[in-house]
């Protein structure tokens, strides 16, 4: 698959940024040190010019329109690409956990407990950081629809891990708005 098929300089839509930040939030829900891991990975991957410190990284993520304190400033394509690369690396790190959650070979009761734990952490993060008046946030917190959406996010992270994951995820985040 041609890597250069998606133009490098295409900025992400608000909807794409929303999905990207939600996946980063899932990474934090899966790993208690996820926030720190993001900062560390950003430095490790050489994004210090784009995100000199954790506050700058945080500010970029606040372009998500679902955030309580959302920023209207548009993100540059190189900034969103860096965030996608960080997510790609986090998904790679968390892949064993993502795989376990998605597997039907695991004992159902044990896997239900894992999902409950993950969804509980995600709910806490969503309530803390996202605007509860937005329909998208209400859907995430809904017991039925929220479970389906969080499974979609975990599956998307699993398919974004690894070598080919970056290009695939970027193409998906550039999808047309429905």
């Amino acid at each position: 698959m041609a890597d250069a098929s998606v133009p490098l300089q295409t900025p992400l839509s608000r909807r794409g940024i929303e999905r990207l930040d939600l996946m980063l939030l899932c990474a934090e829900a899966l790993d208690l040190n996820g926030g720190e891991a993001m900062v560390w990975l950003s430095e490790e991957m050489g994004f210090t010019d784009l995100f000199p410190n954790r506050v700058e990284l945080w500010k970029r993520r606040c372009s998500n329109p679902l955030r309580r304190n959302t920023r209207r400033a548009a993100l540059k394509p190189e900034e969103t690409d860096a965030l996608i690369r960080i997510l790609n690396a986090l998904a790679e790190r968390l892949y064993p956990m993502l795989r376990t959650l998605l597997s039907s070979a695991e004992p159902p009761e044990l896997n239900q407990q894992r999902w409950d734990l993950f969804r509980g952490r995600l709910r806490e993060l969503v309530q803390e950081r996202l605007n509860p008046r937005r329909g998208g946030v209400q859907r995430l917190l809904d017991p039925g629809e929220g479970a389906e959406l969080s499974r979609e996010l975990v599956q998307a992270m699993a398919l974004s891990a690894g070598e080919g994951g970056f290009e695939r995820l970027r193409a998906s985040l550039l999808d047309a708005a429905v």
Binding site: M1, G164, D175
Partner: protein
């Protein structure tokens, strides 16, 4: 000298065997000609195939994963292709069709974790620099609004136009109940005032 490349994940193993294409100037550690490949999926017997099967596997599974990432599962693999994949009751059905007549296709159902493992193995394989084989794959591109329309539930998609049409019908029927104003009549001449004077 025969070369072997292995790609492994928890539930999937791909092994590619081949030879360097010395006529194309490749070094002795690069596979330029595939002589065969085998795929082992957990719980199933190992499958063996040729380069065309590997190409068909990539051409079906990689675009399928791309669509699944956007939460719009879609079947891939034409009727005459040796490999096809389609969503099946929340899982993914991989269909491997034999060229030999009277051999029914082999259907393997994968769960989300097994599919991710297969996609990762195929990603490693297609991006491996030691494998100098030009696999033909459709380009990665963002999905159009038309591709994504299945993501929204039908009710949510038709809600806005439905409310619009309903409002128009209700207001039209209410307006039709109002009496039509009669044309003002000239009392003296007992004819409509709009008539031209003689």
């Amino acid at each position: 000298m025969k070369l072997t490349s292995r790609y492994e994940q928890t539930s999937c193993r791909l092994v590619v065997e081949g030879l360097p294409d010395l006529s194309a100037g490749q070094d002795s550690s690069t596979i330029g000609i595939v002589t065969g490949f085998s795929m082992g999926l957990a719980g199933h017997t190992d499958l063996e195939g040729q380069r065309e099967h590997l190409q068909a596997l990539l051409a079906a599974v990689i675009p399928y994963a791309r669509h699944l990432l956007s939460a719009v599962p879609k079947a891939f693999g034409a009727a005459d292709s040796p490999v096809a994949i389609e969503p099946s009751d929340g899982r993914h059905q991989l269909e491997l069709r034999s060229r030999q007549p009277n051999t029914p296709p082999l259907k393997i159902v994968l769960d989300d974790a097994e599919l991710s493992d297969l996609v990762r193995c195929l990603d490693q394989l297609r991006l491996d620099r030691r494998l100098a084989i030009p696999f033909e794959l459709p380009e990665l591109h963002p999905l159009s609004r038309n591709d994504l329309r299945h993501r929204q539930p039908l009710l949510r998609r038709v809600a806005a136009p439905l409310v619009g049409v309903a409002t128009l019908l209700i207001s039209a029927s209410l307006l039709s109940l109002l009496p039509t104003p009669k044309a003002p009549v000239d009392v003296r001449l007992n004819r409509p005032t709009l008539a031209l004077p003689r």
